[in-house]
Symmetry: C2
Subunit: 336 residues, 2 copies
């Protein structure tokens, strides 16, 4: 079974589970609130459909890990739903914080209903994550509290990473070594929680859980570095709206931090202030010239290698195991 | 022992517990983030001290209920901390949503550090609530999952109430019957969770838990109605800054909804648009004249009576029981 076949089997079950959880808010008095959540999840409103739901990578990682431990993935669906809700809670709040008007090709929640409602939608998604976890009780009574602790510590790391990301915006003198603790919190923490929980619920022993956790951590770092790569050299960053390029949003991504460390032409231009749409292609080329593109690709490949090494140590079983190797590969080759 | 003596015994232990939980964020790299939380909790920054911490009524209710069931209150401190964090998470987000610049006599978190950081601070407080609950594990392993379910359902009700509150702002034709579901979610849900959890951890049987839960529910409603009373006829509403009066913020509080239902002079003025500072005293008098003041006081007293009746049924023990009766009384007589 290829990754795609797995995807086609798992995703419908996951979507049902997510919808079942969100239905807790489906009441006549608060129907518009419920609809804000179903809109964000990609199920309703203009542009609803597979593109609007996002890739559901995190729950997929969790379910595949459980399966690769030789266990049934179906009973872990509430945990998979929980990590997807955590991810989406952070997206809804993140979009307000970054003032991003678009998400997955549609208007963001705050752009549609205002910031006050969007804060509340994010809060509700966060609560649904916790309510989903409680549905693990019947089957995983022994593991549940540990799973909750992993999720809550992960979320605390998310807020730490988010704090660093926001405070970096106005900070000068940052170097590449400031990058890793930020993305470890912002991105890798949730990825590693997915594989850790997947392995635990799959019945893996402690050392196997640990290598799966490391696999998720490195996959998360590779994923974020590749995101940073696409934020400058991806098609839409180079040719799309200026807001698609990290060069114009001022984000301190890995290539930008690398460029700043070189203290060359790029760094000189950066400190002069906001970069206009016209300048983007040339400045991206300048970054390439100064070595940032190669450095970013190398960093991503190094993280992917570390992920694959960890995964090998975990000795994942059967077709789910192969699918995990495929996933690691694909996340570093995606175009968007 | 009077309520005050109890207060002086419980509060220092509670503050230690809260500080112990917030210390999870005390790291050199994210120190300013940690300090945003300690500022909001009332422990640091300008104006830190007892007034800045707030009254800690919710955890106090929880601890007193446990004690009134004849059990030790000390082991339930993590649960008391959790409900206080839930309350504070909602305050931090609420202040952004309402654009309130002052809280407990000081600048709000968003006013100090911007909305993006304030969203993140609220999120962190919410996570700390869940991490605190996990600390109940050793002593209350049997009750823990039920406590978590109560908290999570309460939080979902909070977001529902918050949604209604925000959507009422632009809705006309609202009546008093729209008021109760909104405040049930916004305020009473957390109060009833406090007494419910306090009774459960105090070892009360199901029916006693239920009457304690009802006690908290009615106390919460009385508390909110009295808040609405003070928002129009309280000293600072009548004589303070115009933002202290619910008449100028446009909030659909109970007296306002009552006034709108009368369709008299008050209602006529209300629909014409924002009320200026100068108009506040006369319009408050007009509301009194139309019966809103008496109606609000009667509603509050009815809720307090229902609370006291429930509390009597619970047959609370000893001095903690007396303190609960005192608390019910005082919450409806406070001046701020």
């Amino acid at each position: 079974m290829t990754l795609e076949t797995f995807f086609n089997t798992l995703i419908p079950s996951l979507e049902s589970e997510l919808q079942h959880q969100v239905a807790r808010l489906d009441e006549s008095r608060t129907r518009p609130f419920y609809e804000m959540l179903t809109y964000h999840m990609g199920w309703s409103g203009e542009g609803a459909g597979p593109r609007a739901t996002g890739k559901r990578i995190r729950p997929l990682l969790l379910l595949l890990t459980t399966a690769a431990c030789g266990a049934e993935w179906h009973p872990t669906l509430p945990a998979a739903a929980a990590v997807e809700f955590i991810h989406n809670f952070s997206l809804v709040h993140d979009d307000i914080q970054d003032q991003s008007e678009q998400r997955r090709g549609r208007l963001t929640v705050w752009k549609n209903w205002g910031k006050a409602h969007a804060i509340n939608v994010g809060d509700a998604l966060f609560i649904l994550a916790h309510l989903s976890l409680l549905d693990l009780k019947a089957r995983y009574s022994e593991e549940l509290l540990t799973v909750e602790a992993i999720i809550d510590h992960t979320c605390l790391n998310l807020t730490r990473g988010q704090f660093l990301d926001m405070s970096y915006e106005n900070q000068s003198g940052l170097t590449i070594k400031d990058y890793w603790p930020m993305v470890a919190g912002k991105t890798a923490a949730l990825f590693s929680a997915c594989t850790h929980i997947g392995a635990m619920l799959g019945g893996a022993d402690d050392s196997t859980q640990e290598v799966y956790r490391a696999f998720g951590h490195y996959i998360g770092l590779a994923f974020q570095v590749h995101d940073d790569f696409l934020g400058i050299w991806g098609d839409s960053a180079l040719t799309g709206k200026s807001t698609d390029s990290d060069l114009s949003t001022g984000k301190k991504s890995l290539p930008v931090l690398y460029g700043l460390e070189q203290a060359g032409v790029f760094a000189q231009r950066w400190v002069e202030g906001p970069i206009t749409t016209n300048e983007i292609p040339l400045l991206a080329e300048q970054l390439t010239h100064e070595g940032a593109k190669t450095f970013t690709q190398d960093s991503r490949d190094k993280m992917t290698d570390l992920a694959v090494q960890s995964l090998r140590q975990a000795n994942p079983m059967g077709e789910a195991g192969e699918a995990l190797f495929d996933l690691a590969e694909q996340l570093s080759n995606r175009q968007s």
